[in-house]
């Protein structure tokens, strides 16, 4: 069943006709040629397809495109502005935080969102175990807390297990 939708992707508007079954991931990759979100599992389990959907990270493989008509999407590709890499992208390169790179666009989008979420005061499952408990307002410091970063990145799997360098890469951006 075909439906016409509009999507704003990495700053550009697109009008496209999709079958109701089309996921955002397939719309981005197959219809708009934006291959930075990757298809790993296609079932919400690996995070390779993570994009910012109206400002929040989401698994684009489980989001139906018709249900997100009019949405604003940012992919890893759109994080760089005027050819300048996003600080998280730079930090991943500097820390050698990937191996094959397949999971990397999803990891980077997740890390960018993580920093915003912590600044907005969103707790994680491990925040409650911290000696200061879960403060119920105000930003949450994650820069000095590898546990927080690991927990908040747990929705992004890396088949190469390049996790060890991702945590310091994210900590460094959190500190600055």
């Amino acid at each position: 069943m075909d439906t016409e939708i509009t999507l704003r992707v990495d700053g550009a508007d697109h009008r496209l006709t999709v079958d109701t079954r089309t996921t955002l991931l397939d719309a981005l990759r197959e219809r708009l040629g934006n291959t930075s979100p990757k298809k790993g599992c296609d079932h919400g389990q690996c995070g390779a397809c993570t994009v910012l959907l109206d400002g929040r990270r989401a698994n684009s493989c489980l989001a139906l495109a018709v249900a997100h008509d009019g949405a604003e999407i940012v992919t890893a590709d759109g994080l760089a502005v005027d050819g300048q890499l996003h600080p998280v992208q730079r930090s991943f390169i500097e820390h050698d935080a990937f191996q094959c790179g397949y999971c990397t666009p999803g990891q980077i989008v997740s890390a960018v969102a993580l920093l915003d979420e912590a600044a907005a005061g969103w707790p994680s499952a491990v925040t409650f175990d911290r000696p200061d408990g879960a403060p119920d307002t105000g930003p949450i410091d994650v820069a000095g807390e590898p546990d927080e970063i690991q927990e908040r990145m747990s929705g992004n799997l890396c088949r190469c297990a390049a996790y060890a360098n991702m945590v310091p890469a994210i900590q460094e951006v959190a500190r600055s």
Binding site: R21, H43, G47, A67, S124, A134, D136, T137
Partner: protein
């Protein structure tokens, strides 16, 4: 995936009416469970009615001191809400203990409560499953059953309910508000989900087209002293083998009141009323906790691979309540 039509409604009555006309239609929340099951050909709706703009996305304080959570609130917003974190930390902890941030951003409160079992046979259409196809048999009983139920199961189904949020809500006496073809009603969370019996195709008591509009948390001051403990095969991002939601009201070392619920052990979130009754009116010692937990679990009937869940549940109850008592 099979073809389907997609429609939007502007209000709950409109959404309910759309479903009432189509026996194969389904509501669409965040889609994180439904779309997954459609890809697996387990769910086969011919019409999806999107609940965006239909169910409320607000969390509000009620005049009686309770809190009302709209069914359209995202799992992330629920867990980050200051009122929820102060009044009912167990709810925020349970939500954050489940799935991942990118899933919780899409997932809604209503959809979370109605997510379907993660039993591998239910998700695999090449196998027999009474929940998916009534009358075909249960592959899990003689198969891989390590993750499955130890309490309240039947010869027809040993699936567990996967929601962490539902376990916390059962513990704090929450209720869901619904609107359906036959009007509206309020259902205590303890009665929303059911045991499998001989008709495991029904996870819960809702009628076709009955919409959850909100979850009400009653005023329960001691829920401020509550906690969720989830035990799983890895440190994060896995479903519970066993989980415990608990809240306790301790006065001079005596248990004035207590709430305990278990996840990962049954077809529904398991409210441990027997253990609660045994604990009220005495001190919160390890010995009394152990005895209360064992009494709750006497009827456990483990399968070939999941007997470990019984002592695990007992120990999790003891540890969670001792943590709450600060010991």
């Amino acid at each position: 995936m099979r073809p389907f039509r997609y429609e939007r409604a502007t209000d709950p009555a409109g959404a309910v009416a759309l479903l009432a006309r189509s026996p194969q239609a389904a509501f669409l929340g965040g889609g994180t469970n439904l779309v997954d099951l459609m890809k697996l050909d387990v769910a086969r709706p011919d019409l999806l009615v999107d609940l965006r703009g239909v169910t409320s996305r607000t969390i509000e304080e009620l005049p009686d001191g309770g809190v009302r959570v709209g069914a359209g609130v995202s799992n992330s917003d629920l867990a980050a809400d200051p009122l929820i974190r102060r009044r009912c930390p167990v709810v925020a902890q349970a939500v954050l203990g489940g799935a991942s941030t990118q899933l919780r951003n899409l997932a809604t409160v209503g959809g979370n409560l109605l997510q379907r079992t993660r039993c591998g046979y239910f998700q695999d259409v090449s196998t027999a499953c009474n929940k998916r196809e009534p009358g075909t048999g249960c592959s899990a009983i003689e198969g891989h059953n390590r993750d499955l139920a130890v309490l309240g199961s039947s010869p027809d189904c040993i699936a567990t309910h996967p929601s962490d949020l539902a376990v916390a809500l059962v513990a704090v006496d929450a209720a869901v508000r619904t609107v359906g073809p036959d009007g509206s009603r309020v259902i205590p969370l303890t009665e929303l989900h059911r045991l499998p019996g001989s008709d495991p195709q029904h996870d819960n008591v809702l009628a076709h087209g009955e919409l959850i509009t909100a979850v009400d948390l009653p005023p329960l001051p001691f829920a401020a002293n509550s906690r969720y403990r989830k035990i799983r095969d890895r440190a994060s991002y896995a479903f519970a083998l066993v989980s415990v939601a608990a809240a306790v009201d301790l006065v001079d070392g005596q248990v004035r009141d207590v709430r305990i619920a278990l996840g990962g052990v049954a077809h529904k979130p398991w409210r441990a009323t027997r253990a609660e009754d045994l604990l009220r009116g005495g001190p919160l010692t390890e010995q009394r906790l152990r005895r209360a937990a064992e009494a709750e679990l006497v009827d456990a009937r483990p399968q070939s691979d999941n007997a470990f869940k019984v002592p695990l549940a007992r120990n999790a109850i003891v540890r969670t309540l001792l943590d709450l008592a600060g010991e």
